[in-house]
């Protein structure tokens, strides 16, 4: 069983292929991934991923191709002795908003919070759960409703006070207890719906009971940073929203503690010697706010930052820097466009016919988009689940290659015939619409332009329109006057995609802005979270992907890859699909070669 004592529990009863084929313990994993990185370095990244597909690369690697890689990789990561001390500066585009784990909803805040506050469980980069404040991943009770977490012994806050089950109960209460209803927590929706009770039979044990069998619970809701009750417990709900603790936590339980936040510039953290996993090697960690992606490239080169996300357009430029190494990996993220299927809107009239939706997808040369717009850093998407998911089906029922002739004949067959102006029309309605996406994202802008051209070639008039991000969110979630929108989405570990595709989320405030309503899909999605049987869930999600490939209400264009530039003086950074942002159990082992 992979990971030894880590991956136990009926909740993960059916071991995935990756797990059985993975090596036995953590150091092997790290070495393997270092080799995988090396492998990607030595071979042309674009060629490899394009030829084999991101998921093939992934499964090939995890499918035991270690020996092959070891042979190919050439050179080896010499075991250097980690040095204690020094700092790491990481750059990113957005400033953090808050340092309270239950109030934050943006990636930047979550990332920094994750270094200061551990949750019950944490995630390895391949998606495996491991214990954090809790000793192990718990086994769920026979009825599938009760999870018993045993906290580690002698957990301490950075002010030497003991961390007990009371802190855990307090933290979760902020999001689901009616007493704290005024706390503006984005976690409230799920937690209040699915948590029945949280109790502490003794100071070392937390028992969480769910309202129904809820499969995503362990994967998605056990990572919230635990907050100190002895500091925040006396505050009222409204005070919690505004307390100074949110912009400067005085007490932490994670690898690093707060030093200062220079607004708009950087957040500085320092080692927390009371960390349960042992003190981190670094003295300090800085999260620095940068203007844009070119600044990331510039500062990686000059060494002003040690780690930063690299935009595909900057990849080649960063490659020339001898002091930076790049890591690239598939991520649970995809870019998709959605048809407005509301019968009352224009989109409803144009796109109601499945043949039209499919034809438009056939008319897109998505491989060209990956090559030209993303410089090869990505792969054409066949399915609605990202390739990093254990429920991913590589070849669902309907596959879409680039076939312009087929697109045209499908549209002809559906009754959309080219008029004298070259635009197709049916019953007096032209196949003419607007596509929206947010301004400021170069790739999305380019994608819309390519889509416009591709569809113009088959007689469809599509016009790109760029709007500000808040307006885009508003459109998707409530106004919904769009014909088509293009956006990217980040998924968590669990394959559940109800927020986008379940019909209950078509109400105002939900993310099913495309108004996609399919009873079969609804049932599958509901059933799939109501069982803990992984194999059964996998089959359900396979069906789900088949239906979605046929219906294509929201065609996925590509699966992105995540690229990080890491300075050569930084060792031990272990980026992966599921722990690049908030969950970074590896951060404490990061060290710098010059000790500065």
């Amino acid at each position: 069983m992979a990971g030894g004592a880590e991956a136990t529990g009926a909740g993960r009863a059916a071991a995935s292929q990756e797990e059985t084929k993975m090596s036995q313990d953590e150091t092997d994993d790290e070495k393997a991934f270092a080799l995988f990185d090396r492998f990607l370095e030595d071979w042309s990244r674009r060629d490899f991923i394009r030829r084999m597909g991101a998921t093939a690369a992934w499964t090939a690697f995890s499918g035991g191709a270690l020996a092959f890689l070891e042979a190919c990789a050439g050179g080896n990561t010499v075991g250097e002795t980690p040095k204690k001390g020094g700092h790491v500066i990481e750059g990113n585009f957005s400033d953090i908003r808050t340092l309270n784990s239950m109030l934050s909803s943006d990636t930047a805040s979550n990332q920094v919070i994750g270094l200061m506050f551990d949750g019950l469980l944490n995630v390895k980069k391949n998606g495996d759960l491991i214990g954090a404040l809790a000793q192990d991943v718990p086994t769920v009770s026979a009825d599938g409703l009760t999870y018993t977490f045993k906290l580690r012994q002698n957990l301490k806050w950075s002010d030497d006070k003991p961390l007990t089950a009371d802190d855990v109960i307090f933290t979760y209460a902020l999001a689901y207890d009616p007493k704290y209803a005024d706390v503006s927590s984005p976690r409230r929706g799920d937690l209040s719906k699915y948590i029945a009770s949280i109790t502490a039979p003794d100071p070392q044990t937390v028992v969480i009971q769910t309202t129904q069998v809820f499969a995503p619970f362990l994967g998605s809701h056990t990572g919230y940073g635990i907050l100190p009750k002895h500091i925040l417990g006396t505050l009222s709900a409204k005070e919690i929203n505004t307390t100074d603790f949110n912009s400067g936590p005085t007490v932490v339980n994670g690898a690093f503690k707060f030093v200062k936040w220079e607004k708009g510039q950087q957040v500085t953290l320092a080692r927390n010697d009371n960390y349960w996993a042992g003190p981190a090697l670094l003295d300090q960690y800085v999260y620095k706010v940068l203007p844009d992606s070119v600044a990331v490239t510039t500062q990686l080169k000059t060494g002003e930052i040690d780690i930063g996300p690299v935009d595909p357009s900057q990849f080649d430029s960063v490659k020339t820097a001898s002091n930076v190494a790049q890591v690239e990996f598939p991520v649970p993220n995809f870019t998709f466009y959605a048809y407005n299927l509301d019968p009352a809107k224009l989109g409803g009239k144009l796109f109601a016919d499945k043949a039209v939706r499919q034809a438009l997808l056939f008319a897109l040369d998505r491989q060209k988009i990956v090559t030209a717009v993303f410089f090869g850093h990505g792969s054409v998407a066949n399915s609605v689940e990202p390739p990093t998911s254990w429920a991913y089906k590589e070849k669902p029922q309907v596959l879409y290659s680039f076939d312009k002739a087929k697109a045209e004949s499908m549209l002809d067959g559906a009754g959309w015939v080219k008029g004298s102006d070259g635009i197709r029309a049916k019953d007096g309605v032209k196949l003419k619409f607007e596509m929206i996406t947010n301004a400021g994202n170069k790739q999305r802008e380019s994608m819309l332009t390519v889509m416009q051209q591709s569809w113009k070639d088959i007689g469809v008039d599509a016009t790109p329109k760029l709007i500000q991000f808040p307006e885009l969110v508003s459109q998707i979630v409530s106004t919904r006057t769009f014909d088509m929108f293009l956006v990217g989405f980040n998924w968590s570990i669990d394959p559940d995609e109800a927020p986008l595709f379940h019909s209950r989320n078509t109400v105002a405030g939900g993310f099913n802005g495309a108004d996609f309503k399919n009873a079969d899909v609804d049932k599958i999605l509901d059933d799939a979270i109501a069982t803990l049987d992984k194999e059964k869930r996998k089959q359900l999600y396979f069906q789900f992907q088949d239906i979605m490939s046929d219906q294509v209400p929201s065609p996925i264009i590509l699966f992105n890859t995540g690229i990080y530039g890491v300075s050569t003086r930084v060792k031990g950074a272990d980026f992966g699909p599921f722990n690049q942002f908030a969950n970074r159990p590896w951060m404490k082992d990061v060290w710098v070669t010059d000790g500065k």
Binding site: D182, G189, Q265, Q266, P291, T298, G303, G509
Partner: protein
């Protein structure tokens, strides 16, 4: 009479500030639509959560009600809290305003210090190669987009210098992340952004100084001074320059209102933690309270600057008081 004049202008200033803030709120409210500040594409959010957030932020009431509440609070010195991160608006402003003033203030000082000698040289050596060269440089400086100049400077003085092993300048921020904050650190970070801003002022002011000098030097009293046997240096610097500078001061004074918002593009390019950049980012996120607070301060400075200028003019020129 002076007092009455000041009071009238002061009241007018209040009207102006109110007018500006009202227009700001109007524009923000029109464009916000249904968006609730701080919402991301976060699938964990439920419609009920969003509704509660809207109520907590006071956005479910008509905008004029929000405005009246805001004015009432401001009168008590309470600028409220940011809708994005919950921190007090005043803390954001007090954190950033000094940075902006540092940047624009330095640029103005540098601009003045460089414009005067350049303008004087141009006037004294009128028509010479030096004069023409200076004219070309100053006019050229006026023709380059600020953001482009900034990016070019970063490319040269950060990336290229660093790779060539030369001492190089940091490409963003006001202070270094660790061990920063001392005077030298701030100066090093200030160099490039202030240069870009100063270039702009330099272009206008050097030419202005030049023409002002020329005008003054052609005056009768200068000829008289020369005829009396005064040394050329004393003529030029003691009498000429002093009088030529008065209009320049006026021109510089006109720039003071732009002190707060003028550096926005430079702030964005260099990641400078200033108030202009704050307002820009928050406006795009519909953070009403922060944007209103910043606009209020910026307008206050503009209006105060104008009031000060008007009062000075009134003291110097009695005719204006009776207008």
């Amino acid at each position: 009479m002076l007092a009455k004049f000041v009071v009238r202008r002061f009241l007018a200033s209040i009207v102006v500030v109110l007018g500006v803030t009202l227009i700001t709120l109007l524009l923000m409210d029109r464009t916000r639509g249904t968006y609730v500040p701080g919402i991301d594409l976060n699938p964990a959010l439920r419609p009920e959560d969003i509704a509660r957030l809207r109520t907590n932020l006071g956005l479910d009431q008509p905008f004029y009600m929000w405005y009246v509440t805001w004015i009432w609070n401001v009168a008590h010195g309470d600028f409220g809290r940011s809708m994005i991160d919950g921190s007090p608006v005043t803390s954001h402003i007090l954190d950033r305003l000094p940075n902006t003033l540092e940047l624009t203030g330095t640029a103005i000082v540098v601009g003045i210090l460089l414009s005067i000698p350049l303008g004087v040289i141009g006037a004294l050596r009128r028509g010479s190669k030096a004069d023409h060269a200076l004219t070309v440089v100053s006019v050229a400086g006026f023709a380059v987009p600020q953001f482009w100049m900034g990016l070019l400077l970063i490319l040269i003085f950060s990336v290229t210098f660093q790779q060539a092993g030369l001492p190089w300048l940091p490409s963003s921020g006001a202070t270094s992340p660790l061990n920063g904050g001392d005077l030298w650190d701030r100066i090093v970070h200030l160099l490039m952004p202030a240069t870009v801003l100063a270039f702009f002022y330099l272009s206008v002011w050097s030419r202005f100084t030049r023409s002002s000098m020329l005008e003054v030097l052609s005056q009768d009293y200068i000829r008289t001074a020369r005829a009396k046997g005064m040394s050329e240096r004393r003529v030029v610097y003691l009498h000429g320059l002093r009088n030529a500078l008065i209009p320049l001061i006026t021109l510089v004074g006109l720039e003071l209102p732009g002190l707060v918002s003028g550096g926005l593009v430079v702030e964005v390019v260099f990641g400078w933690p200033g108030i202009g950049r704050l307002a820009f980012e928050r406006a795009l996120q519909y953070d009403y309270s922060t944007v209103m607070g910043v606009t209020f301060f910026a307008t206050l400075l503009v209006v105060a600057g104008n009031l000060l200028a008007d009062v000075l003019y009134a003291i110097l020129d009695p005719r204006i008081r009776y207008a």
